[in-house]
Structure formats: C-alpha cells, structure tokens
C-alpha cells in the first residue's frame, strides 16, 4: 500500500506518466468540443419556444458542470494534502483553481446573456444564481489566500482549509432549484431518467460535456507539470529532461 502511495505522490513519476496521456487529452478534448459546437450551433433543431437562443445551453451547461466538478477535485486534493501531506495533491489543487474560477465566470456570464431574451432580465437574486456567485467568490478567495502567505506551505494549508469549508456550497448549488422557488429551471438531465429532449439536441451537449472534462484534465495536468518544474528547477531529472530535449509536450 505505502509504496504505491509514495509512487503516486512522486512528482517525477507523475511528470513521466502524464506526458504520455497529455497529447490524447488535448487532442480528443478539442475534437469533441469543436464537433459539439458545430453540431449544437448549426445542426441541432431550434427550440420550439426559445428559438435559436437555446443554443447557449451548449456552453452554459458544460461550464456550470465543470465549475462544480473542479471544486470537488480541488477539495479532494486539499483533503489528501492536509491528511497525508502529499505535495503533489497541493500542486493539483493549485493548478485546478483558476480553471474552476474561469468556468464559474463562464457559466454566470453565459447564463446572464441567456436570461435577457428568455427571462427578460440578466440577473435575479435567486438561490441558483446566488450560490454560483458565491462559488466564484470562493474560488477567488482560495486563489488569493494561497498567495497571501510568506511561506508556500502556509498558503497551501490555508487554501486547502477554505476549499474544504467551501464544499458545503456544492450540494446547495445542486439542490437550490429544488429547495427554493427559483427562476432558474430544474435539472435538465439526470443519470436515472430518459432525457426530455430528442437525441439531436442532447447528443451535441453530451459531446461538449465530455470534451470539457477532457480539456479540464489536460489543463490541470499541464499546469501541475509546470508547477513541478517551477518548484524543482534544479532537480537532476528535470535537468535530464531539458538536456534530452524531451519536453514531453
């Protein structure tokens, strides 16, 4: 058990292994997002009530899903870091945070734009919108806290603790449309029920969601690799990497 954990937590092992996976994550993720965008924008049938404005769904929903998944990953890594002191977990948490903040902002921005033609307003203080805004502030707070300490370890621990506290917001976001009477609609999809739209509408959305997940993985892995080099620029294996010309793109 312990040798495996030790190996998984080794930056060198992570760098070598992830270098093999990274091109596929970038490649397949890009193909899925490009295909899903073209399909969703040009070929999916228009909504019978919303017309072509419903196409915002194809970026709004994946961004909102990723905003929450990214927070869940960040919190899991924070727990691993706080309990087992594995530095790699902290590097992953730090690498994921800005992307999560960008996805939260994207979901709020695309939702606000979508609200104008469909709700007649770009913002209401309903439970779903407010809890997503809180998620954005949590991300920004976690990123600021990480940089606000003189020692790297102090910043990492403070950011990890705030990440764990912030997890309470995830179920609130998910069930906000159930617990409160919100302007935002309920969940469009669930894992247990048949989708309420035709396949020509939900298939491109599925491609987008899977594509966003792959690109999220690619960005997080790439940023973690950068952080590894930033922290150990004089390690022998990093030297060998540069000298061998194997950049591991």
């Amino acid at each position: 058990m312990w040798p495996i954990i030790h190996k998984l937590g080794s930056p060198k092992w992570f760098y070598t292994m992830s270098g093999r996976w990274l091109p596929f994550l970038w490649g397949i993720g890009t193909i899925l997002v490009v295909t899903g965008s073209v399909w969703g924008l040009a070929f999916a049938p228009p909504d019978y009530q919303q017309g072509d404005s419903f196409r915002i769904l194809y970026v709004h929903v994946p961004a909102a899903i990723l905003a929450q998944s990214c927070f869940a990953l960040m919190a899991s890594c924070s727990l691993i870091f706080l309990v087992w002191r594995i530095k790699l977990a902290d590097m992953v948490a730090g690498a994921a945070a800005p992307f999560g903040a960008a996805m939260t902002f994207s979901a709020l921005f695309s939702g606000a734009i979508w609200g104008v033609p469909t709700w007649g307003t770009w913002w209401v203080w309903d439970a779903r919108l407010t809890s997503m805004l809180l998620l954005l502030f949590l991300y920004l707070g976690i990123m600021a806290l990480r940089g606000a300490f003189a020692s790297r370890d102090g910043g990492a621990r403070a950011a990890a603790i705030l990440s764990l506290v912030g997890v309470i917001n995830l179920p609130i976001i998910k069930y906000s449309v159930v617990w409160w009477n919100t302007l935002h609609q309920g969940a469009t999809f669930s894992l247990t029920e048949k989708p309420a739209m035709p396949a020509s509408m939900w298939l491109p959305l599925l491609l987008m969601v899977v594509g966003f997940y792959l690109l999220f993985a690619a960005v997080t892995v790439a940023r973690t690799r950068n952080e590894i080099i930033r922290r150990q620029p004089t390690a022998r294996w990093v030297r060998a990497l540069v000298q061998g010309g194997r950049n591991g793109l």
Partner: protein, 71 residues
C-alpha cells in the same frame, strides 16, 4: 443544417447578440488556458536550461540536488 441560409446562421435568426458572445467567452477561456499553459511550459524549460548553462560556467554557484526542492 437547421438554418435556411448561411446569413440566417450568422444572424442566429435574431439571437446573434446573445449566442455568439456566450460561445466566445466560454470557448475563448478554454483556448486561453491551453495557450497559457503551453507558453508557460516553454518559458520554464528555457529557465531550467539557462540555470544549467550558468552552473556549467560557474560550477560552485548552485549545484543540482536529488529532489531540487526550493523553499
């Protein structure tokens, strides 16, 4: 295609001002993260190469370590 003409597609049947900015911001942020992480990697690897060159010219300055951890 769900549109009569290419002009209709770009106009999104009147919803162009909503649909295109939404796609632009979300997909644009994905592209920005991809480009930034690749540029950052190039910069870091160049930095490591420069450190290594400097050390070769002045061997006592900063020797390589096993883990290379800096604090």
């Amino acid at each position: 295609m769900a549109f009569e003409s290419l002009a209709d597609f770009w106009a999104m049947n009147g919803y162009a001002v909503y649909v295109w900015p939404a796609f632009g911001v979300v997909l644009g942020s994905l592209v920005a993260f991809a480009l930034y992480s690749l540029l950052e990697q190039r910069r870091l690897l160049r930095h490591v190469a420069a450190l290594e060159r400097r050390e070769r010219q002045c061997p006592t300055a900063r020797p390589a370590t096993d883990d290379g951890e800096t604090t």
